[in-house]
Amino acid sequence: MDIEQKQAELIEQFVSRAENLRGGSLANVIVEATSHPSLFAFSEILSVPSVAELQGTEYSVYLDVLRLFAHGTWSDYKSNAGSLPPLQPDQVLKLKQLSVLTLAETDKVLPYDQLMQQLDVSNVRELEDFLINECMYAGIVRGKLDQLRRCFEVQFAAGRDLRPEQIGSMLQTLTTWLNTSENLLLSIQEKIKWADTMGELDKKHRKEIEERVEDVKKTL
């Protein structure tokens, strides 16, 4: 929530700039957006009509870069480096930060070896510095570094831009969660009703016993 609030203004700025620009100037905006240290979401910029119009032009590679930053990882860039423009150091850093978010989507415990391989980091110290300085301090992830087990336990990771095909599974998870919550509420209501009924029965039983005790006392 915090990261979204932080980047909402930036997204608005870049979207309004992108709407009014074409061609090379638009490509510069894309480079600026993908280099900005506080921006991690690019769907809004991608959906600007002028950005979509870059497809098929000489600047279509920048559209590909924007798509890569919206959905891809550092490994995706490396495997397609030939067809993409060279990235600036700020862009490389951003892409690596986004790669951590992608890894955190699938696993909550990220082994150091996997992270070092995915992020092209040679040693543990460098990896930990990156995770602390560039990820945790940026507010995109929260977690614990377990040096003994050599893993990063992710407690929170900011959401990346969604692909259309991901919405289906998200809806299904939400529906399951909703059904679970509703069933739980129904169970709780049933238990409350049961407790009330048992309480009433208990009171009635107690009263009957007391009446019988009185009767027996009178008889005696």
Partner: protein, 312 residues
């Protein structure tokens, strides 16, 4: 209307001090209104003491038969049950605090003291009664408040009691039975001996419009803290103590029953009734412990179902 209670009328308070209506009637004061701020400060202070008794003073005013507690401050004193008038150690602090308060524009006087009974309920011990009697002799009007921070956590609501002592030699009128509370075995004698020397006042709370706004803002944070905590884990020492106390009470009841076994036909019906009520009390205590445990478990199970049973 919400904030009008915070207005301090110095003239009216001076008039009350002159009239001293409480001097004619030991039961004059019947109600206590505690501000949200004072309550929070007292409970947080009490909780911070852990298993050690802490104490502090309250500032406020009088309104008819009610104490209005506007604010509270902690005293640098611990272990109030170890000596009479523990606050004597903090006289210098109290005087300086009161003077600085007046300079800062806080006009309310000290109207009482509060202290904590961690885990053993809200009542006045012999030492507390002596302290409060002394206070009521020299610092009227004065109120005693007791907070149990441990039971506050386990019960999920603030365990608080407000009391005033009767003068020496005063025979109190027959009072309706107050709400039952579990008293540990090692305190039961102290409780029983002095319970007629004081009476409880009704406690209500109030907050300002600013308090309402701030508490609304903190609502989410409160819920996150409530959901994240578990009374089963936080209070396990206290629960273990309760169960141990229950076992001792059972043993005591059993010994009394076995002693009276031979004379059970001869024993007066009155005494039999007392024994029954002792066992009934033990049953009630055990039910209370169980209910709190079940509540804690229920919250854990509900959290588990809500947050751990859904998978991607």
């Amino acid at each position: 209307d919400l904030d009008s209670i915070y207005v301090y009328d110095e003239a009216a308070q001076s008039q009350v001090q002159q009239d001293r209506p409480w001097s004619q009637d030991p039961n004059y004061f019947k109600r206590v209104k505690v501000s949200a701020l004072a309550l929070l400060k007292m409970v947080v202070h009490a909780r911070s003491g852990g298993t050690i008794e802490v104490m502090g003073l309250m500032q406020g005013k009088i309104d008819g038969d009610a104490f209005i507690v506007m604010d509270a401050f902690a005293l640098p004193v611990e272990g109030t049950e170890t000596r009479v008038n523990a606050q004597a150690d903090a006289y210098e602090y109290m005087v300086e605090y009161s003077q600085t308060n007046k300079q800062a524009g806080r006009l309310e006087n000290v109207v009482g003291w509060y202290h904590s009974h961690p885990g053993y309920g809200c009542w006045l011990s012999g030492i507390d009664v002596s302290t409060q009697m002394l206070n009521q002799q020299y610092q009227e009007p004065f109120l005693a408040i007791v907070i149990d921070p441990t039971r506050t956590v386990s019960a999920g609501k603030v365990e608080i009691g407000a009391f005033r002592t009767y003068p020496e030699g005063h025979i109190p009128p027959d009072e309706p039975v107050s709400e039952y509370q579990t008293i540990p075995l090692n305190k039961i004698e102290d409780f029983g001996v002095h319970c007629k020397q004081y009476y409880a006042l009704d406690v209500t709370y109030f907050k300002s419009s600013l308090d309402c706004h701030l508490l609304d803002l903190l609502w989410n944070k409160y819920w996150v803290n409530t959901l994240s905590s578990s009374p089963l884990l936080a209070n396990r020492d206290y629960v273990a103590g309760q169960i141990s106390d229950l076992a001792e009470k059972l043993e005591q009841a059993e010994n009394q029953l076995s002693h009276s076994r031979m004379g059970s036909f001869l024993v007066a019906p009155q005494r039999k009734k007392e024994e029954e009520s002792q066992v009934a009390k033990i049953t009630r205590d055990s039910l209370k412990i169980t209910i709190e445990q079940v509540h804690g478990l229920m919250s854990q199970v509900i959290k588990d179902i809500l947050f751990n049973s859904v998978h991607q």
